[in-house]
Amino acid sequence: MLRTSICLKKSIPSLVRFYSTNKLPLSVPITLPNGIKYDQPTGLFINNEFVPSRQGKTFEVISPSTEEEITHVYEAREDDVNIAVEAATHAFENTDWATQDPAIRGKLLYNLAELVEEHQDVLASIESLDNGKALQLAKGDVGLVAAYIRSCAGWADKVYGKLIETGSTHFSYSRREPLGVCGQIIPWNFPLLMWSWKIAPALATGNTCVLKTAESTPLSALYASKLVKEAGFPRGVLNIVSGFGGTVGAAIASHPKIKKVAFTGSTRTGRTIMKAAAESNLKKITLELGGKSPNIVFADADINKAVQNIILGIYYNSGEVCCAGSRIYVQESIYDKVLEAFKTQAEAVKVGDPFDLETFQGAQTSQQQLDKILSYIDIGKEEGAKVVTGGSRIGDKGYFIKPTIFADVKEDMRIVKEEIFGPVVTITKFKDVDEVIKLANDSEYGLAAGIHTSDINKAIDVSHKIKAGTVWVNTYNDFHSQVPFGGFGQSGIGREMGAEALDNYTQIKAVRIKIY
């Protein structure tokens, strides 16, 4: 379904096609809008080599800020997935990747982090071009990528089991062992960051990976694959298959030799993957899905800081954030003041060319996303919500949407219940703590929440009562490599980052030796 819509949408090829016999070269020279020239790999990355897809199929990669084609890349199908899984299986079963001194894996990850930093300008620029996000944000992403890989590098030789004291008759212990070949499916909102959240803990713990990038943003992971090889990772340990969910994603979720699938994306697709995992070989699953996270401002909050945080909570990354604070609740007595300040700041958000360093909000990532957000805006208007600001597209070239605020909403409106995944937020007033906790928890999701208050007891009390995997107090979208992230309810299963990420990629073996 996604593929069809991409074929239908307009694309104005602005690059000369270098291939005459319909064969896409495995490397395409690209000049980025900021002048940086680099070679973009287009192949699938399997066994440390870039290779064409078996069936020779390719797909377009569009720049969302200009709607122009950047390049094609090779598109994997089920047969390519099988080859990638074979490579990853061989690396896991027949080499010492999983059994060697784990510090060696740690060193390779440190090497990779260094290379990511060395190449940060190219990587950030590719990310901006492919995803449409502001370059200043992309640079931040790349910094987080290097930091997270480093953090996992340090974990590699620290994955402990237990010596379990059961008395002198036995020597009993547990080990944490890798799972094997892990299938990983990542989204398009933070392409390289999501790549790092998946591969770093998996590789640190001795697994091998077959990772599918999002079809709208395949470029940065392919470039990073050059760095993976340069860092010294052995062949087959990490494999990248660009392609579509319906084919590649489905093949991964149901593959009999893949021992675990990790997915970040929509709740609906997460459900499909969970079913496929169950119906195939009961592979382990972790899911990081959607959210409709409440961002709550109490009357005793520092209003200036709170407004900054609600702005960040919804317009950061053009609202394409799973934990976006997309429902704002403001205590009655300060509602008008906050709304006015919020409106002013929303209208001051600079939306535009990602490569302009003044830009904060870039383009939405694809035509499909643009359409979806605009349709929710229409739904909101139809449902009777009031557009305080925004509520429409900007221009007609590039997928830009005005930062939008809906007020006077009812809690059962679709725009309050459903994830929009764009720069569109609802704002509601509340009386007291008990009411807002109820409102906040009235959701099938439970990814994150924000609380803005100066009262320490209220902050802790509300944090403990909110049903969400992350609660931010007086801040928002505030991540750290060591702090676990994931959802309650239909926002997901399992946690990424922190020591908890290692649990996603290991299984426990208990050994009990009788000695008396």
Binding site: A103, G106, K107, Y110, A147, R150, S151, A153, G154, W155, A156, D157, K158, Y160, S168, F171, I456, N457, I460, D461, S481, Q482, A499, I513, K514, I515, Y516
Partner: protein, 505 residues
């Protein structure tokens, strides 16, 4: 009182030329000692002086400690774990880059064979630094459920300024075991190297600056134990003291630490037993036993200096051990050929001490199977502090060489009949650092291992340490553990926070 140049231009026997710093490294700079006192360092392979370096007095220690305290309060305390980790990993990479340089300095100063010993030590140095770099952002406390009225949690805080005193048998390794966890946990340090081996630590200070550590976080001073070491262990601004060395000095330090209740960890002596059962893989037992007593010229705290052999294989083992010495433990100059395994002892004092124990052994009736003398037959080696690898046998528990740590290439072999007897003999010591045993029987191996009084037990190997695994002794071999995650917790103190969420009086 001597005025030294800031650097000595040294050229080592393998041709390597470099600038050897002489000063005390405080606040990222090399400074002369206030009273201009110096110590000489000797090349143990020929008894010649290499050069002099400045030696810290009590006043210099005070300056260093204050620098460390200041750095802790102003910069280091606010440096995140991730940033501390990055600095340690960077330092590790620089040490790796300079492997040959560091190994050469280590070899000339300590007498370690360059190829078969010193180089391996540098590998340990940078691996340990990298390992602790990986821990730095992972020092977490706990949240503890109590009830709705309390949010309770713990923070594992650094101590502040840690004093660290290291020995001469593994200068750079010991340095990494100390500074790695201390810095990872957020402490600042004042480290005193051993007076016999001050050079490599000073060279490493160049790399500390290159890596980007803020001034005052790492301070390294050369000096004498009774002067600088004593000053560190009694300084009121030092919150923790860590020492590796002899048990006698360890006791002095523990007493001195009581002055301001500073936390103490000690890694002291050992007289570690290696028990060989008759069902052992004899060839491997011989090889590991030899490694465990002759490597590093026997100057290892965990050396298996007492080997207990089950009667049926007793003499066979001893004969094979001698064969192993002859074939695998070539004695020679540190910069000699690549196969030299046993260098000189670190100093004349050590050499004399070992020879004295050998005489006592002979006098008390122990039999010598091989060795037992100072190397004099080779004209070149005679100039250095070489002692021939020595095997004593038919040693009994009353003998001095059964009880006291010799710290040289001298092993005592004792026969035993039963498992119970082996355990009793093994535990018949005031020490309890390590123990090793060889047996193919899994049940016997684990049963006996449980009974051995030691901080570390090796089953079917010996002296087979790994920096991820805790290291330290019971009984008089020390207090606390180094290495692994345990080593890290030795450098933190727990602070509990109680947040009242609603309990009113």
């Amino acid at each position: 009182m001597t005025e030294l140049p800031e650097f000595h231009e040294l050229t080592l026997p393998n041709g390597f030329s470099y600038k050897q710093p002489t000063g005390l490294f405080i606040n990222n700079k090399f400074v002369p000692s206030i009273k201009k006192e110096t110590i000489d360092t000797i090349d143990p392979s020929n008894g010649e002086k290499i050069c002099s370096v400045y030696a810290a007095s009590e006043e210099d220690v005070d300056v260093a400690v204050k620098a460390a305290k200041d750095a802790f309060k102003t910069t280091w305390r606010h440096t995140s774990g991730s940033d501390r980790g990055r600095l340690l990993v960077k330092l590790s990479e620089l040490c790796e880059r300079d492997t040959d340089k560091l190994a050469a300095i280590e070899a000339i100063d300590s007498g370690k064979p360059f190829e078969q010993n010193a180089k391996g030590d540098i590998g340990e140095l940078y691996n340990v630094l990298r390992y602790y770099g990986g821990w730095a952002d992972k020092v977490h406390g706990q949240t503890i459920p109590v009830d709705d009225n309390k949010l309770a949690y713990t923070v594992h805080e650094p101590y502040g300024v840690c004093g660290q005193i290291i020995p001469w048998n593994y200068p750079l390794c010991m340095l990494s075991w100390k500074i790695g966890p201390a810095l990872a946990a957020g402490n600042t340090i004042v480290l005193k190297s051993a007076e016999q081996t001050p050079l490599s630590a000073l060279y490493l200070c160049n790399l500390v600056v290159e890596a980007g550590f803020p001034a005052g976080v790492v301070n390294i001073i050369s000096g004498l134990g009774p002067v600088a070491g004593s000053a560190l262990s009694t300084h009121p601004l030092v919150s923790k003291i860590a020492f590796t060395g002899s048990t006698a000095v360890g006791q002095i330090i523990q007493k001195a630490a009581s002055s301001n209740m500073k936390a103490v960890t000690l890694e002291t002596g050992g007289k570690s037993p290696l028990v060989i059962f008759e069902d052992a893989n004899l060839e491997q037992a011989v090889k590991w036993a030899a490694f465990g007593i002759f490597f590093n010229s026997g100057q290892v705290c965990t050396s298996n200096s007492r080997v207990l052999i089950q009667e049926p294989i007793y003499m066979k083992f001893i004969e094979k051990l001698k064969e192993c010495i002859d074939s695998d433990y070539k004695q020679g100059l540190p910069f000699g050929d690549d196969t030299v395994m046993v260098g000189p002892q670190v100093s004349k004092q050590q050499q004399d001490r070992i020879l004295k124990y050998i005489e006592i052994g002979k006098k008390e009736g122990a039999k010598v199977f091989t060795g037992g003398y100072k190397v004099t037959d080779d004209e070149v080696l005679a100039k250095g502090y070489f002692v021939k690898p020595t095997i004593f046998y038919d040693v009994t528990p009353e003998m001095t060489i059964f009880k006291e740590e010799i710290f040289g290439p001298v092993v005592s072999c004792i026969p035993f009949k039963t498992e119970e007897e082996a355990i009793e003999l093994a535990n018949d010591t005031l020490y309890g650092l390590a123990a090793a045993l060889f047996s193919k029987d899994i049940t016997r191996a684990h049963k006996v291992a449980r009974e051995l009084e030691a901080g570390m037990v090796w089953i079917n190997s010996s002296n087979d340490s790994d920096f991820r695994v805790p290291f330290g002794g019971v009984k008089m071999s020390g207090i606390g553990r180094e290495l692994g995650e345990y080593g890290l917790t030795n450098y933190t103190q727990t602070k509990a926070y109680h947040v009242n969420l609603g309990l009113k009086l």
